[in-house]
Amino acid sequence: MQQYASLFRRLRPGSGRSSPARLALAVAVALATLSVACASPAPAADHAAAERGYRGVMLPAPVEKPATVLTTTSGEPYDLRERTRGQVTLLFFGYANCPDVCPVHMANIATVLQRMPYDQVQRVTVVFVTVDPERDTPEKLRPWLDRFDPRFVALTGDTATLNAAQRELGVSPAVREEVGGASGYAMAHAAQVYAFTRDGLAHIVYPFGTRQADWAHDLPRLVEEGWGATPAASSRSGSTPDGSTPAVEGGGTGAVVTGGGR
């Protein structure tokens, strides 16, 4: 900044003939410098994921799809592993009363899916599992999810089953938090979307903050090139994908939100 100070001293009124052009140039350079200094660094990309060309966060070890049977909003049993076998499956635990994280995730995924080629979309299943079965009745959950995409699968179950499914993923089961007011209570739940590839494993998760551009970048890759897309790739099932530095500790528990803030 020293050079700018001296430049401004030389150009200030009364210190001789100032040149607006020179001052304009100096101001432009100073502002450009300021903007660079002001700009936050790019979000820390996950190196392991970035090395593979993904923008999500690589899990230290792949996580198996929960072996659970939940219930659809039409009351039918839904065997998660069986019904999503061979599909890229985006699994998220949330609740319809969630004010921020859940609707933002669902909206962003839905928007990106709408723009992907039909044949790729057919190979993606989005599964939303409620962590608030008490309020998320089928009559409430289905219309809520339809606002984003009617193809999204909405699942519910009893609390024990839901908790077991979350534990299988390595995350703490959602807990109820009293917040008062009209909403009554919020649910503290994991904020990341698990992306299961065709090998039935989640190698990458997408925390809250994942942008539409990130989904648009990664989803076609997960469909076309993701683990399990080729026999060679699927043979790695059950092992750390590339032995690179783990990015998420503790099995990718990631951020836990209460639905009250970011």
Binding site: R12, P13, P20, A24, V27, A28, P103, R115, G209, R211
Partner: protein, 302 residues
């Protein structure tokens, strides 16, 4: 639940139609109104031959409109929505703070205040330098571009001081940009109407490109709005909201510029203003007792 904020910023909480106080906004607007009131008191009644009573009233109306517009733009609900929920409302704030409020505030300055400014060599020198058209144009353009860079916006909007800086950047750069067009202190004899039109056109060109960029981007560019708790307005997803923002900048901002250019053009045609007065004697250094003028200079009392 909602702690009092002094300035609107993105908070990441769900929108609710519940009034919130912003003491910083009130203080800022009150100080500005106080300054105008003080200047008006010191200016006294309009004198015969100096400025007509109608012009005098017009300036008062412009000042009041400018201050009220500023207040409405910064306070709840517009300020709150624009800071953390809707890019479209943020764009309205931009148009107001950079394109509407500054000319109104400048038009509302009394001639007597400008005469006092002209008599103060230090202030006059500063104003002359900062409002040199080339520099003013660079400042305004730079402010526009920098305050629309996604990383800068997302970072600034997340805090009250940052949000304040963003709003002030628009307002102050707008005042600097509009000053040479609206105020004749210091007098710039060579800044003739054709140059003023060119100045307006090129000075506001950046916002056309920014608007087009917002309109044509395939994804939301600002995390602040993309990841904000959804605003309860059916069908308004972040991308549509961003396109609304681009549309506001293009369809509201650009016509304002065209109107301003038209005023300059027709005043120039109608009065022949500036042309007979470009002799060496008019290249004033500011000591000429002159006053504010509307765009195009038709209202100059100097």
């Amino acid at each position: 639940m909602n702690a009092v904020q002094w300035w609107c910023s993105a908070r990441g909480v769900s929108w609710e139609w519940k009034w919130q106080p912003y003491p910083g906004v009130w203080l800022f607007v009150a100080v500005l109104a106080g300054i105008y009131w003080w200047l008006a008191r010191r200016g006294g009644e309009p004198e015969e031959g100096r400025e007509s009573r109608a012009m005098h009233s017009g300036r008062a109306v412009a000042a009041v409109l400018g201050i009220v517009s500023l207040w409405l733009t910064l306070d709840w609900p517009v300020g709150t929505m624009g800071a953390g929920y809707l890019a479209g409302v943020h764009a309205i704030q931009f148009v107001m703070l950079a394109m509407v409020v500054p000319p109104l505030l400048l038009l509302g300055i009394r001639p007597a205040a400008l005469e006092r400014l002209a008599a103060h060599r230090g202030w006059l020198g500063f104003v002359r330098l900062v409002t040199t058209p080339l520099l003013a144009m660079v400042l305004f353009t730079a402010a526009m571009v920098i305050t629309h860079v996604p990383r800068v916006v997302d970072r600034l909007m997340a805090s009250q001081p940052g949000s304040f800086v963003l709003d002030m950047a628009w307002l102050l750069s707008g005042l600097v940009f509009w000053w040479p067009l609206m105020v004749r202190v210091p007098r710039r004899a060579r800044f003739v109407p054709p140059l003023r039109m060119v100045y307006l056109f090129f000075g506001t060109l950046a916002h056309v490109f920014i608007a087009m960029w917002l309109l044509l981007s395939p994804f939301p560019v600002y995390a602040t709005y993309e990841l904000a708790p959804p605003f309860p307005f059916p069908g308004l997803d972040p991308l549509i909201d961003q396109q609304v923002a681009g549309g506001v900048m293009l369809l509201v901002g650009s016509p304002l510029v065209l109107v301003a250019i038209s005023i300059i053009f027709f005043r120039w045609l109608g009065t022949g203003e500036e042309r007979p007065r470009t002799g060496p004697g008019t290249s004033s250094t500011g000591s000429t007792p002159t006053s504010a003028a509307a765009i195009g200079g038709g209202a100059s009392a100097g």
